[in-house]
């Protein structure tokens, strides 16, 4: 099959724009959880869980006549998706004259965010006394186009408009996608099958409704403290810490990327997501599959590292027998961005290979011995050997038995 390279990558996180601020923060031991940052506005003051929020969640909408009328169909997720997609295209240097029909978009979507959450209670009160039939009341009172704004693949249509990638648009839900790697695997297949030459894979971890967060918490407690010693893999870890972010990655046929002189940030050697009877078996299968397909061992492991007591244990016990390499995770620095987390980690792993350095795990003080002989990077960065070229990225679903894995490699490989 055709070789695939990553030719563009952009991300927004609590650390700012791009991979470098996240990476530098990990190196310096900084993190971005609201309550520990003086002067930073907390997104949800009353949440029991700290969050690593975007500095400015209100991302500007593109200017120009084509964008004015359609803004009403765009929610915050769409704004962020378009912003990162445009940054990725700019980095990738995709020329205007490309055949857009050979390019497409795959969006890693969250479970549909209900923008009615903040108003549904008031509507419930109103419905108790209002003489209008309920359907008419909703017809009158619900903001126009809210239903359309909630369509998962809507962000993709805007990305298609922004980038000229008009050959395909689809959203892939995070619940089976393990944090964006499902969307990446999906996009790979579009190229491998010859359908497209180039795919924009975007992920936006949009704010999750209160009810959904509580559902997550009941399933596996979310982290309530973001102090040192509460990070992923720590003996004192107590739940995944919430984060917000958006990411876009352009993958394309290597031959075409080379021909147009595109930046070739890394090769995408393999990517797969698997659903099976448990997260353990799913992750085991996905990891073995990408190792086999890549045909080489990774020199570093960018783990999911949820910070959950159970998930970290399961992840380490599953992957460690297959991979022995310096291991890190971003979730103690920028939190768990859910649908976009796997893609964000992929972009950070590219940065790691570029710098030849594995940054330490945020908020990790004392690795949990129960996790086994994993080579965690603790407090101080680790230099990679001069021959280090490949990284494994893993991702887990927060609630169902799905897991993903990807192997990337420097282009010299």
């Amino acid at each position: 099959m055709d070789r695939i390279v990553i030719s563009g990558a952009a991300l927004l996180s609590a650390a700012g724009t791009g991979a470098a601020p996240v990476f530098d923060a990990m190196v310096s031991g900084t993190h971005f959880f609201d309550r520990q940052q003086e002067g930073k506005r907390s997104l949800h003051e009353k949440f029991p869980w700290p969050e690593a929020s975007l500095n400015d969640p209100d991302v500007p909408w593109p200017e120009g006549s084509a964008w004015v009328d359609i803004k009403k169909y765009a929610n915050a997720s769409a704004h962020q998706a378009v912003a990162v997609a445009r940054m990725a295209v700019e980095q990738s240097g995709v020329p205007d004259e490309i055949n857009g029909l050979r390019c497409g978009t795959v969006v890693a979507s969250g479970n549909r965010v209900d923008e009615l959450s903040p108003i549904i209670g008031k509507l419930g009160i109103l419905a108790q006394t209002d003489p209008r039939p309920l359907a008419k009341l909703l017809y009158d009172e619900i903001p126009d186009y809210s239903y359309l704004r909630g369509i998962p693949c809507q962000s993709g249509q805007f990305i298609c408009l922004a980038t000229g990638f008009r050959g395909s648009n689809v959203a892939v839900y995070g619940e089976a996608g393990a944090g964006g790697l499902g969307a990446l695997a999906f996009a790979m297949r579009l190229i491998q099958s010859g359908e497209l030459d180039r795919v924009m894979v975007a992920g936006v971890g949009i704010p999750i409704s209160p009810a959904m967060l509580v559902a997550f918490d009941r399933n596996d407690p979310l982290g309530t403290e973001s102090n040192p010693g509460r990070g992923p893999f720590d003996i004192g870890r107590a739940g995944t810490l919430l984060g917000h972010g958006a990411v876009a990655v352009i993958i394309e046929n290597d031959e075409l990327a080379t021909a147009r002189g595109a930046p070739r940030l890394a090769r995408l050697l393999a990517c797969e997501t698997i659903n099976f009877n448990s997260r353990t078996t799913a992750l085991d299968f996905a990891t073995r599959a990408v190792l086999d397909e890549a045909g080489r061992r990774p020199d570093m492991w960018w783990a999911h590292g949820a910070g959950s007591v159970l998930m970290d244990l399961m992840e380490c016990q599953t992957v460690r027998p297959l991979v022995d390499a310096p291991t890190t995770s971003s979730k103690g620095t920028i939190g768990n961005t859910f649908e976009s987390s796997g893609l964000i980690d992929l972009v950070l792993a590219i940065e790691s290979l570029k710098r030849g350095e594995v940054p330490p795990v945020g908020l990790l003080e004392k690795p949990d011995p129960a996790l086994g002989e994993v080579d965690f990077v603790v407090k101080t960065s680790r230099r990679l050997g001069s021959d280090a070229r490949a990284a494994l990225v893993t991702a887990l679903d927060q609630r169902v038995a799905a897991a993903g894995a990807a192997i990337i490699a420097s282009v010299e490989t």
Binding site: K136, I142, C153, G167, E175, A176, V214, N275
Partner: protein
């Protein structure tokens, strides 16, 4: 990409049949699933008096068979249709490699097609607001204190892939996807792709929609997309008829088993329903909801090209045919562009005339009808098109048309600029 892909199993749960055979019979007889929606007071809406929902007795038996605790209604319906499809495919647990699953479960909002559930939901939301307000932190605290089952609004999460993996006994390469109303055909495309590139030999495609409640109808009414027909409900969805006034929201579920022809042969399957030809995808970036004739044409022409067929090779069209003013005229004009003079004789079928519009599920249900059309040589009628729109000028029939059919072109389009077309071919050994 050389693996031939065949449809070896099919299952449906619809308002007009909870088995493939009963669904087919209803299509041939022109039996409508549309009815006056009398569970909700919709009189004040500018449209939306008619819906298509699965009859209560069928719902009850399905719930009894598949309704495990905490399983969302959409998942229950998918289990019912997937189980049929696996039985139809003669699946006996003999898979040796990972299987594929591509599926679409249209988000039902806080209830499926159960208006009382929506009333209860909004009542609880009001009570919660009265008690703690709507500030997210207060709502979280309220839920954390509560001991009852989680709010139904969290139920879009689904364990369906894991449950299916357990049933099949192998890992699944699964994608829950959204391509709006083109999602059913898109799911089928992606399952075929998994097989063609050799990732899997066997895949399940499933789609479900159940959202006939106050909320969904109010939103589609805002979009002015629903039928305004005020006469016999069975006539409310009338694709390509000059009186058409909008779509009818439907509740339904469909499932298809696809596999490589080689895999089917190896496990002893002698007859299949259809062979999947080529497909075409297109994205319109001009408008969110209005269909675009160029995109429809592009999707169809791409599907034909990738099937190595010309328009003259197509025996009939299974149309998207939603009964909206704009869709049907756009689809018809694109058909004229592609087929030209052949449109005089080219049979067009529109299943939504009987089922209403089931979003992504419609693509699966209409694929089922396309496959049976190929195998049995019968084109179902469009009984609601009694006054054909001369502007559309497509050839529909009020009675079944019997003649050999070797190829069907299937269209599905959706909001958000989604366009998908697929060609189905009569298999070498069709299922009787």
């Amino acid at each position: 990409m050389n693996n031939k892909v065949v449809i070896s199993g099919m299952g449906v749960v619809t308002a007009i049949g909870d088995t493939v055979e009963s669904f087919w019979d209803s299509n041939l007889q022109g039996k409508s699933g549309l009815r006056l929606e009398n569970r909700m007071d919709l009189a004040a809406l500018p449209c939306g008096w008619v819906t298509s929902v699965i009859p209560d007795e069928i719902k009850s038996s399905i719930k009894e068979r598949w309704g495990q605790s905490n399983r969302a209604w959409g998942d229950i319906l998918m289990h019912a249709s997937v189980s049929q499809a696996l039985d139809d495919a003669g699946f006996n647990g003999d898979l040796k490699r990972p299987a594929g699953l591509t599926w679409a479960r249209v988000w039902p909002g806080p209830s499926g097609s159960f208006p009382q559930d929506y009333i209860d939901f909004i009542k609880r939301a009001g009570e919660r607001h009265a008690a703690v307000g709507s500030e997210p932190g207060d709502v979280v605290a309220h839920h954390l204190r509560a001991k009852q089952e989680m709010e139904i609004e969290a139920s879009d999460l689904s364990a369906f892939p894991t449950e299916l993996s357990a049933k099949l006994g192998v890992p699944l390469i699964a994608s829950r996807l959204d391509a709006t109303c083109a999602g059913g055909i898109r799911a089928l495309v992606e399952a075929a792709r998994l097989i063609k590139i050799g990732k899997v030999d066997f895949a399940v495609v499933a789609a479900v929609v159940s959202r006939t409640n106050h909320y969904t109808l109010s939103q589609y009414a805002q979009l002015m997309a629903l039928s305004r027909w005020k006469n016999p409900p069975s006539q409310a969805s009338m694709p390509f008829d000059k009186r058409r006034s909008g779509m009818v929201i439907s509740e339904s579920s469909g499932a298809i088993v696809v596999e490589s022809a080689e895999h089917a042969r190896a496990r002893g399957v002698k007859e299949v329903h259809a062979e999947i030809g080529g497909w075409g995808l297109a994205v319109d970036t001009v408008h969110l909801t209005a269909p675009n004739i160029e995109m429809v044409e592009r999707a169809m022409r791409t599907a034909l090209n990738r099937s190595n067929l010309t328009p003259d090779d197509i025996d009939m069209v299974n149309a998207h045919g939603t009964s909206t003013r704009l869709n049907d005229i756009t689809e018809a004009k694109a058909l004229h562009r592609v087929f030209g003079e052949r449109m005089k004789d080219l049979d067009v079928c529109a299943v939504k005339s009987l089922t209403g519009h089931g979003s992504a599920a419609s693509g699966i249900l209409e694929t089922v009808i396309s496959a049976l059309t190929l195998c049995r040589g019968i084109i179902p009628p469009v009984v609601t098109c009694t006054q054909p729109d001369p502007e559309c000028n497509v050839k529909t029939s009020l009675t079944p048309v019997r003649r050999p059919i070797s190829t069907v072109l299937k269209n599905s389009f959706g909001f958000g600029g989604q366009y998908a077309s697929m060609v189905f071919k009569r298999p070498e050994n069709p299922r009787p």
